[in-house]
Symmetry: C2
Subunit: 262 residues, 2 copies
């Protein structure tokens, strides 16, 4: 009774394997359409009613499958007439959210992050030489202006640290190598969200700000000169000193915690 009555004389039959998981079958089926038919973002997918018919599944099951695809950023849905499910391109921010979950239980250290930033950010900076428009430079300088002065309070202090990271994110978004750009942005995001980093950013650290400001101003200069080698070496130094500061703060904070730990 496993291989039940699926001989409806219908042409296409998903075969209804006993180890069922209808939802996953529907997911795989729709993903198959996307790759085989070379569907592109914005292309329509069949509506729920038709999916129910094609997969011989109930509304709830079809909806669970669509929800899974939506969660992965592969489709987007709209209500109303002309609505339905459409192919979508997973955007960078969503991709980083999904990837962040992988590191949620793996606790990368500041050393882990900077080991990568030290090699990736210089290469990213170098790849930008000769590719920035006047508008891009304006945006960078606008970002720098947020932390070109000492912070008046802790709140501003924190916002300045985030803005320093934003500076790098602006660069990463302009990187012609999409993988390199993504990885740089992702590391920046880790720094923004890691709890140890948040604690560091919450404590005043005037040297960190001045150091960043100095390197980033020089970096803009090198990029204006379209000097890739110099941009890379400035960025490398910047990452090295930033790592030193961060790890010093980390040690200090963890020392403090030892006293209060039970």
């Amino acid at each position: 009774m496993r291989e039940s009555d699926q001989q409806e004389a219908a042409p296409e039959q998903p075969r209804r394997r006993p180890g069922y998981k209808r939802t996953d079958e529907i997911c795989d089926g729709i993903m198959g359409w996307i790759v085989e038919d070379r569907l592109k973002p914005g292309d329509r997918l069949p509506q729920e009613r038709e999916l129910m018919a094609r997969f011989k599944a109930s509304k709830s099951t079809v909806r669970e499958a669509l929800k899974a695809l939506q969660t992965q950023g592969l489709i987007a849905t709209r209500t109303g007439p002309g609505g339905g499910a459409f192919v979508a391109a997973l955007d960078g921010n969503r991709a980083m959210e999904l990837l962040s979950n992988y590191f949620y239980f793996r606790h990368p250290t500041i050393g882990d992050i900077y080991a990568l930033r030290k090699v990736l950010e210089p290469q990213m900076a170098a790849s930008l030489a000769g590719r920035l428009t006047q508008e891009n430079f304006s945006r960078l300088e606008e970002t720098i202006r947020i932390y070109d002065h000492p912070a008046a309070n802790i709140g501003e202090e924190y916002r300045q640290r985030i803005a320093e990271l934003d500076f790098h994110t602006v660069l990463a978004e302009l990187c012609p190598n999409p993988i390199l750009g993504f990885m740089c942005s992702f590391l920046q995001n880790l720094l923004r969200n890691l709890s140890i980093c948040r604690r560091i950013y919450d404590t005043p650290n005037p040297e960190l700000r001045e150091s960043a400001l100095h390197y980033q101003a020089r970096l803009i200069e090198a990029l204006r000169e379209e000097n890739a080698v110099r941009a890379a070496s400035i960025m490398f130094e910047h990452m090295c000193t930033a790592q030193d500061y961060m790890e010093a703060c980390e040690a200090e904070i963890q020392d403090g915690f030892l006293k209060f730990d039970e």
Copy 2:
């Protein structure tokens, strides 16, 4: 930050906004529990029945929310007595699948991939010096044995190319820096799955095999000597020559396609 000021007082009032999106509310709620209560992999979550009651939502809605969390690898579910939803740790393979979607419409080139491999793989190799057990070495040599001889046919040819990548994946899994290990594995995965690469791997290329074999044997030697610097430099050379071969093949294949393109 969500405004999830759930007044956990006596009257449970999820606020029930008319603008539906109940599913997302439930997702956010459960994710909130995971982070606020510091839940760890394996910890139980309430069962469907109780979730329905807590969120005052129907079974289908709760299930869609659970499906979304499951898709992200944050929970796993089991049927039967004692079953239910459990917190899970997103595993590496699933994380790579999710991230792959980001690059599905962004078409990284072989140059993009190797620009990163050239800096990441050497660092990864260096981090392994003095950390490998006899068992690890055995596994590496076992992998190499798959391609230590010329392939008899196209099928074996392809499997050899995949095994060459597997060699690097074995190393990446042992990398003490989880981010570095993940990124190396991910780049290897991209090479495995990119259609241009599959075409390259499907064509005979004896030089590529011999070159890889040579470098990897020397790499094992350096790792046995626990010589990090030498391991890194061998890996760097390996990546450079591999890139040259791959890009030469890429150009050849694309030349061939130009003739058949309309």
